[in-house]
Symmetry: C2
Subunit: 355 residues, 2 copies
């Protein structure tokens, strides 16, 4: 029976010292707490006259419900975390954008977190951000061995992007990586390319995206009876422009033998093209190059970069559907959702230019 702190609310003159609470509204309107929540939640059983009075009080105090109070009460936050290694990678930035937009469509706020800094961050994400009252996690491990993530999120629903956990601990949404690689090889063969190099396999992680793409690549090369040599196949862990540039450096002696290069990501391809051009290797005339992710930068490169495109909006929607189903209690075994991919053919893998 006490509890009067001064300077409540948002009078337009003196700055109020703190945000208004439900209780302040109730006192100003002269009603109980429950009546105010009833008004806030637009419930029946509130007389029009009372409702008006409460609404006026809310407006006068500039009241906004405290989400913390709500979370504590309800146990729900309507927040999901998106965990990506680095937000400044173009593909992951585009992915984050798509997920944020999809979150909005599905009534969720998306909290984007970077996990690439340390093992600690990665594990926190994998554990579902314990203590954080996150309703779910959308997790894109890029550099971590999924087998390390055995003790996955016990309480927080999770959907994986990018890396498939063989244990099937969580739902997984992605394109058909193997098929997309076959499509890439087919496209190059259609353009008359016969001797194709590959950058990005990493046999150490059998479930990795790069490995899946490599499997598809090798299968297609086999099926189409294309020539292949071991020193045309370069492995690398990091799919960066820098790595791509370094890998292309290694391929320079093979130029003249190879006539196409498949890179497991656009960043690798961009780095490779940079090296090629610097060494007067013409793209696509001498070597066709193609990557994955269809990042915007590829469109503005010269030559513009061919790439395997994922419909990120669709991927993000599927991801949310799966995640929401888990949030609502779905206990089925982990599922794999495949979203369609599309080959975007631009200059880098097209016919020779006139230049």
């Amino acid at each position: 029976m006490d509890d009067n702190r001064d300077d409540v609310g948002a009078g337009r003159d003196g700055r109020p010292a703190r945000p208004a609470r439900l209780k302040d509204v109730a006192e100003l309107a002269g009603v109980s707490l429950k009546t105010v929540t009833n008004v806030v939640h637009e419930r029946r059983h509130v007389k029009a006259e009372t409702r008006a009075r409460v609404k006026a009080a809310i407006a006068e105090l500039g009241y906004t419900p405290s989400l913390v109070g709500r979370q504590l009460q309800s146990g729900r936050s309507n927040i999901v975390a998106l965990a990506v290694p680095r937000i400044d990678e173009p593909y992951l930035g585009a992915l984050a954008h798509a997920v944020i937009m999809a979150g909005e469509r599905h009534g969720y706020t998306v909290f984007t977190d970077e996990t690439g800094r340390s093992d600690e961050h990665e594990l926190r994400a994998a554990a579902g951000y314990p203590g954080n009252s996150i309703d779910g996690v959308i997790y894109s491990p890029l550099a971590v061995d999924p087998r390390r993530l055995a003790d996955m999120s016990r309480f927080t629903p999770m959907v994986l992007l990018g890396e498939h956990l063989s244990e099937g601990a969580a739902d997984y949404v992605a394109i058909d990586n193997e098929q997309s690689a076959r499509d890439v090889v087919q496209h190059l063969a259609d353009g008359g390319r016969q001797r194709i190099a590959y950058v990005g396999s990493n046999p150490a992680r059998s479930s990795s995206v790069g490995q899946l793409r490599f499997q598809g690549f090798r299968a297609a090369v086999n099926d189409l009876d294309l020539e292949t040599r071991d020193d045309w196949l370069l492995r690398c862990d990091r799919y960066t422009r820098e790595t791509g540039a370094a890998m292309a450096e290694q391929l320079l002696p093979q130029i003249g033998e190879i006539d196409a290069l498949v890179c497991a990501s656009d960043l690798l391809a961009i780095g490779a093209i940079r090296t090629f051009i610097a060494h007067h290797v013409r793209v696509p005339d001498d070597v066709a190059v193609i990557g994955w992710d269809n990042i915007v930068d590829g469109r503005y490169l010269s030559p513009s970069l061919s790439s395997v495109a994922t419909d990120l909006d669709l991927l993000a929607d599927r991801t949310f559907e799966a995640l929401i189903s888990r949030i609502q209690g779905n206990r089925d075994p982990a599922a794999v959702y495949t979203v369609p991919h599309e080959l975007i053919i631009r200059e880098s893998s097209g016919p020779p230019t006139d230049a």
Copy 2:
């Protein structure tokens, strides 16, 4: 005197139904709540034997403190929001990365939000995310008229990036945009460029970054007695590759007159270069091009892109210092913090190539 819900904690066999609470730990260890918090917070006045018992209970139950409970209790969350228009813009992605890293150094978790979707989002950010128990906001308005943001965050400390509010409602951290533009012009003049075009001014917003850069540009052109013509000065609102490509299209008839192009952002420059190359305008031989932001993609472009670089780590650190000072109650008038910039000269504004 009741309150026993089943399936607490993290027994390794059956899945526990919910995360363990402080109370569960207290009961298992046979002590009071306060003793458990004392252990959690490493306080004195806990017998070694008791502490061991509590720690064992914590480990057995896999207890993690609920941040929601803490926030409610303390009113602090140690979370700051970073509000940017779009996370998939390269510069903003790099900025977000730097801010997240700096946040970690300063003990804050950074929640990145996209505000570019709607006015509603922009205003929510400007109001300091009312109801969200955010300790502070780092706000980078790109497309909004700052004058609309009169009713700024009443309760949430805020630091602005990118756009300076003339009212001085909030601290502002940025490079010296005007001086950087002078440096750009000086550099081009040093390279023998005489007739320089500019893309990106927007006189409608006098405080905008593009406008500040334009002022510096014009002043330097004046000071150095360089030729200037109105149709060499193109205005635009959006600093995208697409806009840059369209602006360059408009400049094509002027090629031969102009010998350099200053773009208010790297994205504009990348779009412009793409258009130039497509029309066989050689960069830098026919036209030198330079931008701002030093985004990574510029390094791997051919020709690689000269740019004004900001030390983002430094900028993010300054931002946090300012923000934390406000969080701790600093009520000084809004300040402007300037971080150094650096001209990164690459091929696009260098001497003619051999090609």
